[in-house]
């Protein structure tokens, strides 16, 4: 039975929006999530299939004054190799370096990674550290802070007919520092799905951190901002006791599950250990 009745590969955002508005549609770009999902049946085919890979306007990294904009079709390799991002937001480049394999990085897009809304999404954690926003388009344009974007495993605020077009964030200040650690459960640099990932960012002055951001991946139903931990750390000097207390607090904010990749107990251990290590490394 042919579920798909119509296939289009629009070249402009406008065309894509109109197609999305015209009926029940499934969108794909690099295919790295969508193709295996439709094969296993975890994502359903729809009557309209839209290939947005050809909307070249949506691919690219640019700086507009103090804002950095990344088009949704920017690939993970684009991010990894971007001189602009290396200079302004190296934590995002570090995460791209921990993403799957070279072949997948060449095809996977930032829009796809966020839209897939996995709690382990490798790019989500650094983007949360950067206070990123996503731009969503249907008939209207709306901007949603990334902290509000994820609703649960595989679910986001994206509405039917809506497409994620850009991610953007303020270019961090010179004294902004950020770290991202992905723990895959072994010695593979990138190929593993995260067991947990931890990101810490802020402005360092002496041994104190302010404008603190702490984000955890694969530790909750969505990529998580550990806001209690952030509040606890705000302005404090990062001595051993503070770091240990912050690490313990981050763990309490997480609600990891047990699955084939690791037990909840182990994830909690790692959250504490990795948060502690990242905080120690930041100053």
């Amino acid at each position: 039975m042919d579920v798909v009745e119509r296939y289009e590969a629009p070249e402009t955002l406008q065309e894509a929006i109109e197609l999305l508005a015209s009926g029940d549609a499934l969108v794909f770009a690099g295919g790295t999530d969508v193709m295996p999902q439709i094969r296993t049946g975890s994502r359903q085919l729809r009557p309209i299939l839209i290939n947005i890979s050809r909307i070249t306007d949506l691919r690219g990294i640019s700086r507009d004054g103090t804002r950095l904009r990344i088009g949704a079709l920017t690939t993970v390799t684009d991010i990894l190799e971007s001189a602009l991002l290396k200079e302004t937001a190296p934590v995002l480049v570090a995460a791209a370096d921990r993403f799957a394999s070279g072949q997948v990085r060449n095809a996977a897009t930032v829009g796809g990674n966020l839209g897939n809304a996995s709690p382990a999404a490798d790019l989500a954690i650094p983007l949360l550290l950067l206070d990123a926003e996503v731009e969503l388009f249907s008939r209207k344009r709306r901007v949603v802070p990334l902290t509000d974007f994820f609703l649960g495993p595989g679910r986001s605020v994206l509405e039917p007919g809506e497409i994620l077009t850009h991610v953007q964030f303020e270019v961090p200040r010179n004294d902004f520092t950020a770290r991202f650690v992905k723990f895959g459960g072994g010695t593979r640099p990138a190929m593993d799905i995260s067991v947990v990932s931890v990101g810490v960012a802020g402005v360092v002055a002496g041994r104190a951190l302010s404008r603190v951001r702490v984000a955890l991946g694969a530790a909750a139903p969505t990529p998580l901002r550990a806001t209690k931990t952030e509040a606890f750390l705000e302005g404090k000097g990062l001595d051993r006791e503070t770091i240990a207390a912050a690490a313990a607090m981050a763990e309490t904010e997480a609600s990891p599950i047990s699955d084939v990749r690791g037990s909840a107990w182990y994830r909690r251990e790692l959250i504490r250990t990795l948060t502690r290590r990242v905080l120690a490394d930041v100053v």
Partner: protein
């Protein structure tokens, strides 16, 4: 399956026209429609790299790619890697340096190696290892594959 669309693309340097179901993967198109068996199906979930092809010069897993996305593009499979005089320099090195045992992962390794050599001619051995992290091999333990790519790198460096 789903309805078919005719696509036009360049395959290993020659123009091709193929009708493919819109939900078909590039891998299935290559193996089942075009009957080209050099590109291997190892896992169908983008983990093993045996299906690596080049699309517009960039290496991707054919099992994760939509065939329709090849429309208008230039696709290279393992069958297109030969040089004018036979095997490419990388292929020759794979042969000479025993980078091949059962050979099932080999087309994917050669494709990814070819991409890495063209994309990052300054890479180190550590970069090579990262570069083939998405190509699984059960026979060789990777050492001779890495050596063959490193030798190819040396060759291109000494030529330039």
């Amino acid at each position: 399956m789903s309805f078919e669309k005719e696509i036009h693309f360049v395959l290993n340097g020659s123009p091709r026209t193929v009708a493919v179901p819109v939900t078909m993967s590039a891998l299935d198109m290559i193996r089942d429609r075009l009957k080209m068996t050099g590109t291997k199906s190892g896992c169908e979930e983008g983990e093993c790299g045996a299906c690596t092809i080049l699309v517009d010069g960039v290496s991707v897993n054919a099992c994760l790619s939509f065939a329709v996305e090849c429309d208008g593009r230039s696709v290279v499979t393992i069958e297109g890697i030969r040089a004018a005089e036979g095997l490419s320099p990388l292929q020759k090195l794979f042969v000479e340096e025993w980078a091949v045992q059962c050979g099932f992962c080999t087309p994917g390794m050669v494709m990814q190696g070819t991409y890495l050599l063209s994309h990052n001619p300054d890479m180190s051995v550590a970069d090579i290892k990262r570069g083939i992290e998405g190509n699984l091999c059960r026979c060789t333990g990777y050492k001779k594959v890495i050596d063959a790519i490193a030798s190819a790198l040396d060759q291109t460096r000494s030529r330039s």
